[in-house]
C-alpha cells in the first residue's frame, strides 16, 4: 500500500495493516511511530 502524507511525503508499506500518522508528530511521518502517546512528566 502507498501512503501519501499531507506534506507530500510518500511511503510504500507491505505490511498487512499500515499505521498512518494523524498527529503529525511522527519521526517517520506519514507512518505512525507511537509519538502520539500521552507523555506524563513525573518527579
Amino acid at each position: 500500500m502507498v501512503v501519501h502524507g499531507e506534506d507530500g511525503s510518500v511511503v510504500r508499506s507491505e505490511r498487512f495493516v499500515t499505521a498512518v500518522c494523524t498527529c503529525r508528530r511522527s519521526k517517520i511521518y506519514p507512518l505512525c511511530d507511537t509519538s502520539h502517546r500521552e507523555v506524563r512528566r513525573e518527579g
Binding site: 498487512f16 519521526k27 506524563r40
Partner: protein, 323 residues
C-alpha cells in the same frame, strides 16, 4: 547448542538427566523462584520444546519425570509472579502501559544518555536468548484461539516471521544485528553468561505458551511487548545513531518502531478484543499476562542498571565469552 553449565542442584540434575546420566530428580523445596538455579533448570527444560540441545534425546521432551519436575519448578515461579503483580482491570493496565513517563528510567533511557558500546553489547547478549527465537512462544497459542483473535494474532505473527521472507524475519534481523555488533548469532550461544533476570523473561513466555490454561496470559504478554516496544525502539535508534553503530544494529529497531505501531493496535483491538468477546472470563488472565511481563522486564532493567551503576558487567563471567 550444547547444554549449559549448572548453577545449582536443580539445574545440575536437569543437565545431567539430559546428558543421559539420570539420578533421582531432586525435590523442589525452599528454592528462590527468581534464583539462578531454578531459572536455568526451567529454561533448559523449556528448550526441549523449541530446538533442544546437541546430542540430547529428542524424546525427552515428553519424559514424564522431567515434565513432573518442570511442573514443580513452574509452581513456585508462577506463584511468586502472581503474588507480586496482584489483580487489575485489563483496560486500566493497557491505559497505563500506553503512557510514556518522563524522565524515563529504563535501560533504553540510560543507553541514549550515556550508553557506551559495551553496554549495547551486553543488552544484545541478554536479548539474544529471546530474539533468536522471536515470536516462537506466541505461536503456541494459535490453536487455542478462534475467530477474530486467531486471525489477527496469526497476521501479527506472519509479520514477525518476515511476511514469508526469511531474510526479513525478526529473528534474522536480530542475528544480523549480532553479527554486525561483533557478537555470535549462534542460537543460545550466550546461555551460560545470561543471568536469571533475563532468562526469566523468556521462561515467562514459554510457560504461558505451553499451557492452554494460560492462553489469556500469553495474549496479555504479547500485547504488553507490542505496546512497550515502540517507544523503547525509538530510543534505541537514537542511541545507536549517536554512536554511529552499524546499519544492521539500527535496522532491527527501526523495523520494530514501524511494525509495533501496527502490532500494538491489532493486539489491543483484535486479539484482546476478540478473545474477551469469545471468552470474557479470561479478562483476569489477560491483565495478569500484561502485568507479569512488565514486572519481569522491570526486574531485568533493575539488574542491568544496578550492575552498570556499580561499574560492573550485568552478565555472568562476561570477559571470556564476549571476545
Amino acid at each position: 547448542m550444547h547444554l549449559p553449565a549448572p548453577r545449582g542442584e536443580l539445574s545440575a540434575a536437569v543437565t545431567a538427566a539430559l546428558g543421559g546420566h539420570r539420578g533421582a530428580l531432586p525435590p523442589v523445596r525452599g528454592v528462590d523462584p527468581h534464583g539462578e538455579d531454578l531459572t536455568l533448570a526451567l529454561h533448559v527444560l523449556y528448550e526441549l520444546h523449541y530446538r533442544g540441545f546437541d546430542g540430547v534425546d529428542e524424546g525427552l521432551e515428553w519424559d514424564p519425570d522431567l515434565l513432573r519436575l518442570r511442573a514443580a519448578l513452574e509452581r513456585p515461579f508462577l506463584a511468586a509472579v502472581r503474588e507480586e503483580v496482584g489483580t487489575a482491570e485489563v483496560a486500566a493496565v493497557v491505559e497505563d502501559l500506553l503512557v510514556e513517563r518522563l524522565p524515563g528510567s529504563g535501560v533504553s533511557h540510560f543507553l541514549r544518555e550515556r550508553g557506551e558500546w559495551w553496554h549495547f553489547q551486553e543488552v544484545f547478549t541478554h536479548r539474544s536468548i529471546y530474539h533468536l527465537k522471536e515470536a516462537d512462544p506466541h505461536a503456541w497459542v494459535i490453536p487455542r484461539l478462534r475467530g477474530r483473535a486467531k486471525a489477527a494474532l496469526v497476521a501479527v505473527e506472519f509479520d514477525e516471521y518476515g511476511g514469508g521472507r526469511a531474510e526479513r524475519m525478526h529473528s534474522r534481523l536480530f542475528a544480523d544485528l549480532l553479527d554486525a555488533a561483533g557478537l555470535s548469532s549462534e542460537y543460545l550461544h550466550y546461555l551460560d553468561v545470561v543471568p536469571a533476570p533475563a532468562l526469566a523473561t523468556v521462561n515467562l513466555m514459554s510457560m504461558f505458551g505451553l499451557h492452554r490454561s494460560l492462553r489469556g496470559a500469553l495474549v496479555g504478554h504479547f500485547a504488553a511487548t507490542e505496546i512497550t516496544t515502540g517507544p523503547s525502539a525509538r530510543r534505541m535508534v537514537s542511541a545507536l545513531r549517536k554512536l554511529s553503530a552499524p546499519r544492521e544494529c539500527v535496522r532491527f529497531y527501526t523495523e520494530h518502531i514501524e511494525a509495533d505501531a501496527v502490532h500494538e493496535q491489532v493486539l489491543r483491538h483484535e486479539v484482546i478484543g476478540g478473545l474477551l468477546e469469545d471468552e470474557p472470563h479470561l479478562a483476569g488472565d489477560v491483565a495478569f499476562g500484561l502485568m507479569a511481563t512488565e514486572l519481569l522486564e522491570d526486574r531485568l532493567s533493575n539488574h542491568v542498571l544496578g550492575a552498570w551503576q556499580d561499574g560492573v558487567s550485568s552478565l555472568r563471567e562476561a570477559a571470556d565469552v564476549l571476545v
